[in-house]
Symmetry: C2
Subunit: 116 residues, 2 copies
């Protein structure tokens, strides 16, 4: 049985078909990519790691990160849209926290990898 070498140069038709069948739907792939993208920036990572310890307000984070409060606000909006952080108002101050433990798990696994 000859290996398929058609004009589109597919060497292993069966494996390609198998990969197609077990693939996640495009919408889920995109969501996954967006989720990882939210973790794929040093500033956002530092925000997430800081909030893993305890909740903080915007100007605390700005002082900690060494960037403008506007920049922090922009990043927090993105993290909010991805449901990674939530906030609570106390007077004029908004306190941000992580919404769940998934991010911490994620970072631990990633640390395992890069420290090898």
């Amino acid at each position: 049985m000859p290996i398929d070498r058609c004009q589109c140069r597919i060497v292993h038709e069966q494996q390609v078909e198998k990969a197609r069948k077990s693939a996640l739907p495009p919408a889920e792939i995109d969501k996954l990519a967006q989720f990882f993208k939210a973790c794929a920036d040093p500033t956002r990572l530092r925000i997430l790691l800081a909030l893993h310890q305890e909740e903080m307000c915007v100007c605390d984070l700005a002082a900690f990160l060494g960037v403008s409060e506007s920049a922090v606000s922009h990043q927090l909006r993105l993290l909010r849209q991805m449901a990674l952080v939530a906030n609570r108002r106390e007077g004029p101050v908004l306190y941000y926290r992580l919404t769940d433990a998934h991010v911490s798990q994620l970072v631990l696994v990633a640390l395992d990898h890069i420290r090898e």
Copy 2:
């Protein structure tokens, strides 16, 4: 004891200091960000998920993804540099595989999050 409201607008000096002390070193933060960035693209995610099933060559992946072999090669180089994939030569064909199970773990945790 008055709350510290100095010119740099730090509301909670102690929490900021605490975050600073427990922060990861910048080099590690950058590595983490690069690692997540490698997972933060739909094409690369699909490559990683496909290779999680079994090893595939470049033109298999190109056929599966519906993009040029050049594009696949570029993405594979990036994944190789991040030590996420490795290859093995068999004649003219290079077969790519995942280097370890960290990526699979990562994707599972991420899926848990986005499916909630």
